[in-house]
Symmetry: C2
Subunit: 357 residues, 2 copies
Amino acid sequence: MIFRNFKMISNVIFGRGCFNQLDEILEPKRTAKDSWMVFVIDDVFQGKELEQRIPLHDKDMLLWVNVDDEPKTSYVDLLTEKVKAYSTTLPSGVIGIGGGSSMDLAKAVSLMLTNPGSSQEYQGWDLIKNPAVYHAAVPTLSGTGAEVSRTTVLTGPEKKLGMNSDYTVFDQVVLDPELIRDVPHDQQFYTGMDCYIHCVESLEGTYLNQFSKSYGEKAIELCREVFLDDTAEDKDDKLMMASFFGGMSIAYSQVGACHALSYGLSYILGTHHGIGCSIVFDYLEEFYPEGVKEFRQMAERHKIKLPRNLTKDLTDEQMETMITVALGLAPLWENCLGPDWQTIMTRDKARSLFKRM
Amino acid sequence: MIFRNFKMISNVIFGRGCFNQLDEILEPKRTAKDSWMVFVIDDVFQGKELEQRIPLHDKDMLLWVNVDDEPKTSYVDLLTEKVKAYSTTLPSGVIGIGGGSSMDLAKAVSLMLTNPGSSQEYQGWDLIKNPAVYHAAVPTLSGTGAEVSRTTVLTGPEKKLGMNSDYTVFDQVVLDPELIRDVPHDQQFYTGMDCYIHCVESLEGTYLNQFSKSYGEKAIELCREVFLDDTAEDKDDKLMMASFFGGMSIAYSQVGACHALSYGLSYILGTHHGIGCSIVFDYLEEFYPEGVKEFRQMAERHKIKLPRNLTKDLTDEQMETMITVALGLAPLWENCLGPDWQTIMTRDKARSLFKRM
């Protein structure tokens, strides 16, 4: 058995208001005379208070990104070109401020600044050849685990697949629970469920070991406090740690059926990851009976109305592509159902699940 | 409020048998033509199976260390001289194999190879000027958290105090639960209690935040499974993760009364850290009522006979020094008792506690 040598984030700062230390944290990276930084930030913050608080220096670039659609390889390539065109030198750092998509875009740009070609060439495992530019994350939304993961999920012309590599991992993460205080209720729920669901998938999976188990169990406990316990305090702090622990738990495990099917949904319908996982998970009680039961309690308590009948107008071709994308994620299915997964999750089975959604 | 930007270990590998991957993990560090490594290993392994399994290359140095006494600055200086005398070039890596003391010696040597003078000059916070030589840890004993901490605890001519710095943190940790399988029962208990106790101190402390709380709570849970639940499986894996989590929980918290008093005990009597903490903790129910109660359950279940009457033959001068050393650790007392700690933990109070031990 070969174990993965897990690359961790180099530095983590946690605390309410720690975003105020960002300038000081970046200072040692501004070494060269012409040193500059790119702040990759979700455009929902345009004109908001957070925009004013970005520690922008004279030569720095503020790069607004739109994540109405999930990140595409073409968008990464476009953003990378913009950054390259901004100066004759490479930036000293790429700072991603936002949710999972914005953080993933920041990771992707930091990688593509030092690796030639298009980002679609690097969708897969360990295809990145050169270290990225220094990159840091400031999550403003918690649950995806993008702040600790070794991937940056991208939709390319051929597949939805991340650029998985040790170089993808952030050098710095700034965890300031105050930044997630004002997230809209539904979005907070769906992104939190991304964390809850990937922990269930990891804990119920066949790949699990005690490292992932310890992180996953605590992440689920924290999700319970946040979404089921009205008396719990410091929920923003807890959700932020749940996301961090959930991301760490994936180190030695894998997500499962829900993530696989949701990738299919998202590839065809553009469904966002958190809501996509929530929609799919609601139909997976035969695989995750306890988890789905608790998920429904959480959804009910938070008065969440899950979208229904998403797939009814799909053409046969679209449906078949959706199935192909979902079943293409072999490690996820193997983690969920074991090595004989193909005898259980047939194309017919996947189709019948999708048709109910 | 200023938050610490916590430096994490760069890489972690976890899994039964993952020690077999050590050679492959070190390979990329053996870049230069004359590249060599030092393996710093506890001399209890002389002639044991583990000695044969060390991936020693031709030019490598095997440096046996004796940790019958806790690490001293003079010993660190001696070991550093030995390593420097071994070759005209610096080693490409220092690999510590053993318990907390051996890992701390490896950290200390890796720092002193690149920082001039004696290690006693660096006892304190952030006094280290230059990055260490690449250093990795292979714990063969779990509980101290030395594998993740930013300190290397040393007894110097004037004080027992660590070399705290970001450079102290290991670049690589190899967590192989098989390596702690054969630890003698009492030693496993005492070292495990180091973890349990520092988590209690951290969770009951005034410095706590949700980052440290999440790690500390899970570490305590794992300790309970290991030391109180006869039906729990994979206890070696759990204890190894408890130690890792316990170490991480210290990131934003601090130990407390027990560690402070045990430092005094250890300074005068040379008491080892784990057993010292256990001895002291048994007298601290007024500060940690729940924790001490549970600790006693664990001790009883594991048929541990704690040494008694350790301080009865001390001279007055020794007793006063012991008190001075213990009360010198202001942050630990402040964490336990708040800013007015000096009105509670007077010299008389400390003396009365020590006299009972």
